[in-house]
Amino acid sequence: MKTLDRLISQLRRHEPAIEYRESLQDTIMKNIRSRKRKIDYVFGWTDIIWLRKSLAFASFIIVFAFVIQQLFVVDRINKLEKRMISINTEKILEYQRENVIVNSVIMKHQDASQLTDSINVSTDDLLNLIREYRELQYRYEKMLGSQIRKDRNKQKL
């Protein structure tokens, strides 16, 4: 700070005089003019009113179109959530395997529907009945299997 104050006081004391004032003025003006004439290839368009306005308008349209499109996409995806279900391809195939097995049990008795004393049963009830029957059959066989194993063990002893 002291150095700066000293410099300022020195300058004030000596009063620097410009010897060639007009020449200096000309040089400065010449430089300014030559700088103005330089073409700005990148952002020169900002000086052309119609181009500047057009590009600004185009940018606005693009942003607007983008927002509208994204809103449209989000809305459709939100609606899609209502159609989501908890199942996958493996479960579907598992269901199909179970279904053909159950159907094969029904089809063993194809003539049943033609009998005079036949009754109407809803398909859902029939399928449930057969599933329950098969479950019981499986448990029974499993139980029977363990009984046979027990008997064998007794015989061995």
Partner: protein, 345 residues
Amino acid sequence: MKRKINVILVSLVMLIMSSCEGPDALVINIVREDGSLTRKIILTYTKDEFDLDKCQVPVDSTWNITKEYDISEKGDTTYTLTAVRDFDSVEELNKMYDNYEGSNKGMTRQAYFQKKFMWFNNLYRYTEHVGKAMNGYPPKDFFTEEELDFFYMPDKLVEARLEKADSSQVKKNIIEPMEEKYDTWLSRSLVKVLVDKIADTVKSNPAIGIDTTLLYEKEEELAMSIFISSSDEKEVLDSLMGSGFYESNSVLIDTVMSDFEKEFNVAFNTDDYLIQTIMPGKLMATNGFVDEEGNVLWEVNGDVMLSSDYDMWAESKVRNTWAWIITFVFLAFVITGLIIRVFRR
């Protein structure tokens, strides 16, 4: 006529059972951005007997076929046949549908693929269309939106839905009313087809003295009497249309009935199958059901195509990264230019 209607009534009862005879089918479509697709057909059966000519959808021995079997915990053996083929376009698939002679040969099926360029994204739409069997009432005229969801829902999904905590509510508020309406929809549709056919015949043969306006007026009563109460058709027609109506128009009624039966059989003979579609990019919308893997699922059966066209469609989008980059660069250029101008001032 009595015999024919009885056949139809038995058919209605047996409608669902008709799919029990052969293998169950799951058709998987993997759709790609260029419109080509891979179709995979998975047939499941209790016997190692797969007749590809009778399959629910077109398939032949030129497909890439593999077989395997599975023995369940309960000791049941099931066989699975998987057939895979690549299609360059849906047109190629449609040609197969046109030449199809299998169990669902009465069905009109077409596939469509559309691609829409929307600068930031490309939208894709894949549709499988099944033409209606007869001109009855579309289900949407009878069922609510919620009921329609269950109407079109594959059986397994209905079962899974009913395993949830609110199942009794769903059963009471949706399933049961839907089942009640189902009979009305079916009977009204069938009677409408019959009445339309009689009206068309009368229109082309004015000599036939039938008051078709009266027939249309009595449509609901006819449906109730013939299909719901299973009353004698002769008595019903005579009581509604005037004594002797049945006898004097028996030839016309028989002709109309045989025509009707042909159309009805298309729906009745439908061999059910499931269609799963995997779309390119991110799934956006569909009228099917979206599974845990993001694939779309529909069931094709006699009900869904009995009286209205069934379009199974799915839409997806793929982001155009190059368009995003161009847009970003352009916006950055314009905004920078404008900012620089403000600072220059």
